[in-house]
């Protein structure tokens, strides 16, 4: 029962996902619309809550067991609690009943998003530029003809894309466009066919119950 019911459901809902593409019958379209809008949507919201619960459990556990850097888990939990209160009670843009403005100073959720989440998230990825520069210096070696071809193509793209490329030769940007349109498309399409067939096979295996890793470990 613990395995059969989920496998039965995955088959039924898999068919529910496929059939409406091939049939425009109002009952089929209407049923699919209801399942998607009213069931799948609400179920997905709880999945987000599950993810959140798991995250908090990990960090409470870290504090309880005094694991390395456990003190920072307090930062995470306090940040989460304070921002949740401000967001849940103050609304997304301060429209809730909790006041999120003192004089001209605003601190509603959109302000926290723009001034805490955005700078932190974007700076974390900005670090990648430095790591890439270091990797380019230390690791990108033209050890073979193929690797040399890769690097030469990359150089052409990097120079040709920008105004400098246009100044070197007016044909360079067009050549870059040609590289993207022909050899690049050819290789990525070949790879893409493989990926598409693989994902198709995986979807079928999930629906038919051949692929069962999503059930988890226990029976």
């Amino acid at each position: 029962m613990k395995t059969r019911i989920p496998l039965f459901l995955v088959l039924v809902f898999g068919i529910v996902g496929i059939i409406p593409y091939y049939s425009q019958h109002p009952i089929i379209q209407g049923s699919e619309n209801f399942i998607r809008n009213d069931v799948i949507r609400i179920v997905a919201a709880f999945a987000l809550i599950l993810g959140l619960g798991s995250l908090l459990r990990v960090h409470f556990d870290k504090i309880r067991r005094s694991r390395p850097n456990w003190q920072y888990s307090y930062v995470l939990i306090i940040g989460f609690v304070v921002s949740s209160i401000i967001g849940l009670l103050g609304g997304r843009v301060g429209e809730g009943f909790l006041p999120t403005q003192i004089g001209g100073f605003e601190f509603h959720m959109q302000v926290l998003f723009e001034n805490i989440i955005v700078p932190l998230g974007s700076t974390m990825f900005a670090l990648l530029a430095f790591f890439m520069a270091s990797a380019a210096y230390r690791a990108f070696r033209a050890r073979s003809l193929d690797a040399t071809l890769l690097l030469v193509t990359a150089f052409i793209i990097m120079i040709g894309l920008l105004p400098l490329g246009d100044r070197i030769s007016p044909h360079l940007p067009s050549f870059v466009q040609w590289i993207m349109d022909i050899p690049n498309v050819a290789s990525k399409r070949g790879i893409g066919f493989g990926i598409a067939l693989g994902s198709l096979a995986t979807s079928l295996k999930i629906i038919l119950g051949i692929e069962r890793s999503w059930l988890g470990g226990s029976k």
Binding site: Y21, Q29, E32, N33, R36, N37, I40, R41, A44, A45, A47, L48, R92, V93, E95, Q110, F113, E114, I117, V118, P119, L120, G121, S122, M124, F125, A126, A129, F130, M132, A133, S134, A136, Y137, R138, A139, F140, R141, A142, L151, F155, M158, I159, L161, L162, P163, L164, D166, P173, Q177, M180, D181, N184, V185, K188, R189, G192
Partner: protein, 286 residues
């Protein structure tokens, strides 16, 4: 050749420092850069420009803070285009974090236009000229649901207004009433719009992509599944260039970055060449 031995073991922080200087200097001492508009961005601009009056431009904001420096200039350029040509605009997001960035971009451009407006008709008014539909998880809900009914997926907009009561949504029922859907994304969202919404409902799809995704998305542009593309910061600069020709004021962040991009690219090329020279010299010595 002791210099190559030294260069091979150089502290990585010196590399970081050189890169930082190379990027900062052109920002502090800018030089005007000409922007050559390439065909993918041109096609996207023309597709947005030719949206009929009774249809709406649908923008999918799907970039999060991590890719905002590339994607936000694209979104802002398209919004400026829509507001200038008075194209009805509806915005949504498939994930939660991009929603805050959608609010930021829409508010910024609305304020830019309203600072210049002299009458109510000239102004950009929420609900009359544009709407932020919001976010409904999981992504499959809007990807397939919008083809049947937009207000069915978003009965209320992001701010809580009933979607079908807003003037901008009058006559806009589903994807058949969308001129083009432009997905500004840091990930695979444009592919999903093509695979689900375009396959089932035939909606035209354009994309604003990060440069990382560019090479794999060109296969969809070549088949015409993407009507047009903006690729990376260069693509954003191209669209900004075309919008600027409509006399739309506003800061062009992507175009301002081209000098730094050029300097940084040349630096990375130099790093690779120096690294390889050192590698081959030391290999020959052994």
């Amino acid at each position: 050749m002791k210099i190559f031995d030294y260069l091979a073991t150089i502290d990585r922080r010196i590399i970081y420092f050189i890169l930082a200087i190379v990027v900062i200097l052109p920002l502090v001492f800018p030089r005007p850069q000409s922007v050559r508009v390439m065909t993918p961005a041109q096609k996207l601009f023309e597709a947005v420009d030719s949206i009929p009056e009774e249809k709406v431009l649908l923008i999918d904001f799907d970039y999060d803070p991590q890719t905002a420096p590339e994607n936000e200039p694209m979104a802002i350029a398209i919004i400026r285009h829509a507001f200038e040509k008075r194209i009805k605009l509806a915005a949504l997001s498939l994930y939660v974090q991009p929603l805050g960035l959608a609010v930021k971009a829409l508010d910024q451009v609305r304020e830019e236009f309203n600072a210049q407006a002299t009458t109510y008709e000239d102004s950009i008014i929420y609900g009359r000229d544009y709407v932020l539909l919001g976010w409904q998880p999981p992504p499959i809900v809007p990807l397939l649901g919008l083809g049947i009914s937009i207000s069915g997926v978003y009965p209320t907009d992001y701010y809580g207004y009933r979607t079908d009561s807003l003037p901008v949504m009058q006559g806009i029922r589903n994807l058949n009433n969308v001129g083009i859907l432009v997905s500004v994304s840091g990930g695979s969202a444009p592919l999903w719009w093509v695979a689900y919404s375009q396959v089932r409902y035939g909606v035209a799809v354009g994309a604003g992509l990060t440069a990382v995704s560019a090479s794999e998305f060109f296969i969809y542009y070549q088949t015409g599944q993407f009507t047009g593309l903006m690729v990376g910061m260069k693509g954003a600069a191209e669209y900004e260039e075309m919008v600027a020709q409509l006399d739309v004021p506003g800061r062009r962040r992507a175009s301002e970055a081209l000098g730094s991009l050029t300097a940084a690219h040349l630096t990375i090329i130099a790093f690779i060449i120096i690294g390889n020279i050192g590698y081959f010299v030391r290999r020959r010595r052994k």
